[in-house]
């Protein structure tokens, strides 16, 4: 959750930079996105947790996990928002200007409401991914679901049951979040807006 929030907070400025900023910023934002999307999350986590102490920065595992998951997610989320904003046609913007709106109003009242609706399904998807990625924090020794499971296994010698239980918990969490956001999407649905899209 924290990771997703951090991702969101970073993603919005990044996507704006990519669309509206002058060249050097635009390039930097794209490079940021591209690099983070190209490196496995696990490597990012390792760099943060094991790598940073080289420079005297020692992050607690939980913080490192939140930052790692958040940074990765920000790269994907910025892509979601950029895509959504760009998919609202230029003509909508022109039409808004033609009735006398200034650029900021046109963006806020015409482009944003449409873009946000378009962004809901991919954003839901991203939420599920972040949820599942939290399991990778295991590698950093964060005491969370998977790890808890490992402790119990040592005691019970019933690995399959334990892991299946963990899987079931994740499954319920993802189904629950998909369901909630799916309902939100339906409530906000407007005929003619929205495409079905499921990406990993």
């Amino acid at each position: 959750m924290l990771g997703l929030g951090l991702g969101l907070a970073v993603a919005i400025p990044i996507s704006f930079l990519q669309i509206f900023a002058p060249q050097p910023f635009r390039f930097l934002a794209s490079a940021y996105e591209r690099v983070l999307r190209s490196i496995p999350l696990l490597v990012t986590l390792f760099l943060l947790f094991y790598g940073l102490p080289t420079f005297g920065i020692r992050l607690p595992p939980f913080t490192a996990a939140v930052i790692g998951v958040g940074l990765r997610s920000s790269a994907y989320q910025s892509q979601i928002f950029r895509g959504a904003i760009l998919s609202i046609s230029e003509n909508q913007f022109r039409a808004a200007l033609s009735i006398g709106m200034n650029r900021i109003r046109a963006f806020r009242h015409i482009v944003m409401p449409q873009a946000l609706r378009l962004a809901i399904p991919p954003w839901t998807n991203e939420l599920t991914i972040v949820l599942k990625d939290t399991s990778m924090a295991f590698a950093l020794g964060v005491v969370e679901l998977v790890r808890q499971g490992r402790y119990i296994i040592v005691a019970t010698r019933e690995p399959l049951v334990i892991y299946l239980t963990i899987a079931a918990i994740y499954l319920i969490l993802t189904l629950l979040s998909n369901n909630t956001l799916g309902r939100l999407e339906k409530r906000l649905r407007i005929p003619g807006i929205g495409v079905e899209e499921r990406v990993r």
Binding site: R34, V35, S38, I39, P40, L41, L42, V43, T44, F46, L47, Y50, G51, L52, P53, T54, F55, G83, T128, K132, D133, T134, S135, M136, F138, A139, V146, I153, R157, E158, P159, L160, Y163, L164, I166, A167, Y170, L171, T174, L175, V195, E196, E197, R198, V199, R200
Partner: protein
């Protein structure tokens, strides 16, 4: 140690790791494709129980973390007499996982083909099965190329998880190297650069293939 020294000292084990990584990726994507085809066709065209099974399978796999799936296969099965090597366990886990995702892409592509195509096929006297094989699938497979190449890249990155069960892929090698030279940051940075360049190479290559084989009207509209 300078970054350059780290590279010089570790490139050989890292390249070994990269080789395992690629092996893992390629094997899993191919098995995953076979599984994905089965699941997608089953979900779209299968009779009720099969359809239900495929849907549940896809949703369960997509709804649980890959890491947990790996654990189930590697640690969960041995008490029942199924002992797998780390590499085998990793390939099986990745194939199943990727199969579920590939099935969803395929299903999307199949359902994006207008229903008129099937009607036209039937009206020519084809059986439904013939219609699927010779009219729907060739179109759907073209449409599925872009999401499929994305899946390849995802899988490539996710294979790094295999280190946890001791598969000697790139990530595991990086850990191994780092535990000896104590240059954690530089070693992982080196690993990151390798992943970055290999992902960039593949995505550029796929982009090139897509442009090269584009058929008018078969652009995949995101």
């Amino acid at each position: 140690m300078t970054f350059w020294q780290v590279i010089q000292q570790s490139w050989s084990p890292m390249l070994d790791g990269l080789q395992v990584t690629m092996q893992l990726t390629l094997l899993s994507i191919v098995f995953g494709l076979a599984l994905g085809l089965f699941l997608a066709l089953g979900k779209v065209y299968g009779w009720k129980p099969l359809r239900w099974f495929c849907t549940a399978f896809i949703e369960i796999i997509r709804g649980t973390p890959l890491l947990v799936q790996i654990f189930i296969i590697y640690f969960g099965l041995p008490p029942y007499g199924i002992r797998l090597s780390p590499l085998e366990a990793a390939v099986i886990a990745f194939s199943i996982n990727s199969g579920a995702y590939q099935a969803e892409y395929l299903r999307g592509a199949i359902q994006s083909i207008p229903s008129g195509q099937m009607q036209a096929a039937l009206s020519m006297g084809m059986t439904p099965w013939q219609g699927v094989i010779s009219i729907i699938m060739p179109q759907a497979l073209r449409r599925v190329i872009p999401p499929w190449t994305n899946e390849f890249i995802y899988l490539l990155k996710y294979t790094s998880l295999a280190y946890i069960i001791g598969t000697p892929e790139l990530m595991a090698q990086a850990r191994f190297v780092a535990s000896r030279n104590y240059e954690y940051f530089q070693t992982y940075l080196f690993a990151a650069l390798i992943y970055l360049s290999i992902v960039l190479v593949f995505s550029e290559f796929f982009g090139w293939v897509e442009r090269k084989f584009r058929i008018p009207g078969f652009e995949f509209h995101k």
